[in-house]
């Protein structure tokens, strides 16, 4: 299958990437090329095969449900593009 320019525009939106029309024109064939390449997986018989998500070879452990970190507001905000009074500052989102 092949993605149209509008499809690519939709994916760019889902990815939160602003793309000008000429970029979409360039990106569409590149993405289609890669999708064509990964398409070959359809020839592999995967009936009754369980998907593999984790190669860690162990069950993921649970830790005790206790607070073990925190009290470091300054560290958390140290790299914020904008911070005010102990919070991240963002543009107004509610009218």
């Amino acid at each position: 299958m092949s993605l149209s320019r509008d499809d690519v525009k939709k994916v760019a939106g889902l990815s939160r990437l602003r793309m000008a029309d000429e970029q979409l024109d360039k990106m569409a064939p590149e993405i289609n090329n890669i999708l064509g390449f990964i398409e070959q997986l359809s020839e592999v018989n995967t009936d009754n095969v369980e998907p593999l998500a984790n190669v860690a070879r162990s069950n993921l452990p649970l830790r005790d449900d206790v607070v073990n970190d925190g009290d470091c507001v300054d560290k958390i905000l140290a790299n914020a593009p904008e911070a005010e009074e102990g919070y991240f500052a963002v543009p107004k989102i509610v009218e």
């Binding site: 999708l35 592999v44 369980e50």
Partner: protein, 496 residues
């Protein structure tokens, strides 16, 4: 006396213990080399003052007779590891100016072992690339030259291209790397050095900027096998802050480095003989087989039938995890922020400005394969094939102790080559990606030069948690290959 920058870690530690030179002198020699080789663009940030401060502390411990295991060893840190108070960027504009307030577990372990940090090493943006040509901070240039075309600049491999170039060019004794689909092994092969990616779960991923979490694993570059073992000794181990890090005991990897290969069975996977592979790669592989035979190993032909599906599987799973991991770069909590009319505008403008082209392409592929209606056809399908690829390895490892393959299908290429076609670039990782998908340990060791005078590497793949056999086989190849070639840059310095 050997030039201080030409030492191995093991010989440097010996020299420090015998008071032949101080940690300060050793570190200063590397700082001088680093500053004289800025044209390679291997380091994004240099931290000479920090290195010298750490060296002074190391010298104190040597004089008191209680040094740490790697005390005073100058290393470079891939700029994917968060380092407290030192800019960490993943070679991306979106993280330019980001100063972590915490230290990654692996880097902390190396400082606790006494290493000194020369600086943060360049890489492909977010570790996505095979040539170190996607960094926002510019290409890394290999210290090697194609003897037939000495004017062209070569890639050092990727994504850990700053690491491989710096170790090969004697700008540090060792460097860290991360390997998601071959980002340690391929650059090691291109620059004539050793590089090892341990089993997934050996090293903590905590504080390493995430690309594809089910594949990412830290490892080391050095100029011989023993030094790789010394680095792994310091880097590996359980970390409660990474739920996938293993609680297994970490052996002393240097103890594996003795003896021949009598009783060992080495598998040669037939699927790694790919179409269009240069004859010189075939030859070096055949030589490797002969070397192992001469050391007493039994050679066994094996088959990994799903090998050809590893790359397409990888190019679904890695972008899917990348699109999810990189969603955090939203311009709110850290990194770049562009101003927009509303929040969505801010997100889209920030991410479009902050991410480079390859990263944007992978985020979009990942977003697409995870989107409603395509999730099963692409993502779940890829996870199923990933299991088949893993089972291939499980099956052959019932018969053999390790596998021997070429590391990459070519030697280093010129900067700019393979740029037009992403898939051609992806093919560089054809021999390294399957190991990553299966989470197995893999290592590249230099085996010889091709007709261009460029290094070729052989890859050893081991069973899960059996880095020891990988290192042992690698050392047997190292001894037999007797690879003493040095990059053109180093040879011309000697001549000058």
């Amino acid at each position: 006396m050997t030039h201080l920058t030409d030492l191995t870690i093991a010989s440097a530690i010996k020299g420090l213990k015998n008071k032949e030179f101080s940690a300060t002198e050793l570190t200063q020699a590397h700082i001088d080399a680093m500053e004289a080789a800025r044209h390679l663009n291997a380091y994004i940030v240099e931290t000479p003052e920090l290195a010298l401060k750490q060296a002074t502390e190391a010298d104190k411990r040597y004089s008191q007779g209680n040094p740490f295991s790697l005390d005073g060893v100058p290393i470079g840190m891939k700029d994917l590891f968060c380092t407290e108070n030192v800019q960490t960027t993943a070679a991306s504009h979106i993280l330019e100016g980001f100063i972590p307030t915490y230290e990654s577990t692996v880097s902390k372990k190396l400082w606790d072992a006494g290493c000194t940090m020369l600086g943060k090493l360049n890489l492909d943006e977010f570790a996505m690339g095979s040539s170190n040509t996607t960094s926002y901070f510019g290409n890394v240039i290999s210290p090697w030259k194609d003897q037939k075309n000495p004017d062209s600049q070569l890639v050092p491999g990727g994504s850990s291209g700053g690491s491989s170039a710096a170790v090969a060019a004697r700008l540090c004794l060792s460097a860290t790397g991360t390997d998601t689909g071959g980002s340690i092994r391929q650059p090691a092969a291109y620059t004539g050095i050793c590089g090892i990616k341990p089993t997934y779960g050996r090293c903590s991923r905590w504080g390493i900027i995430a690309f594809a979490s089910s594949l990412d694993q830290a490892g080391a570059f050095a100029r011989n096998v023993e030094d790789c073992a010394l680095m792994l000794n310091a880097m590996c181990g359980h970390d409660p802050k990474d739920s996938t890090s293993s609680t297994r005991d970490v052996p002393d990897f240097t103890k594996a480095l003795q003896g021949d290969l009598k009783g060992k069975k080495i598998g040669i996977p037939k699927e790694y003989r790919v179409d269009g592979m240069p004859e010189e790669i075939e030859k070096i592989w055949a030589k490797g087989i002969d070397w192992l035979k001469a050391q007493g190993a039994e050679i066994v032909d094996v088959s990994l039938p799903h090998t050809k599906y590893a790359l397409p599987t990888y190019y679904i799973i890695a972008p899917a995890e990348c699109s999810s991991n990189l969603a955090r770069y939203d311009g709110i909590r850290y990194g770049l922020r562009e101003t927009g009319d509303d929040l969505r505008d801010l997100y889209e403008l920030t991410r479009a400005e902050g991410f480079g082209k390859e990263v944007q392409r992978r985020i979009m592929i990942g977003t697409y394969v995870l989107s409603a209606g395509f999730y099963d056809a692409y993502y779940i399908k890829a996870q199923k094939v990933r299991r088949l690829i893993t089972q291939d390895f499980d099956n052959v490892f019932e018969k053999v102790d390790a596998l021997l393959t070429p590391t990459a299908p070519s030697s280093a290429f010129a900067i700019g080559e393979n740029e037009g076609d992403p898939i051609k670039m992806y093919l560089n990782d054809v021999f390294t990606v399957p190991t990553s998908l299966a989470g197995l340990p893999g290592m590249s060791v230099p085996a010889g030069l091709d007709s261009k005078g460029l290094p070729l590497g052989l890859q050893i793949i081991g069973k899960a948690w059996d880095e020891e056999t990988v290192l042992k086989v690698a050392q047997n190849i190292e001894t037999a290959a007797n690879f003493t070639a040095k990059p053109s840059m180093i040879n011309s310095q000697k001549a000058a």
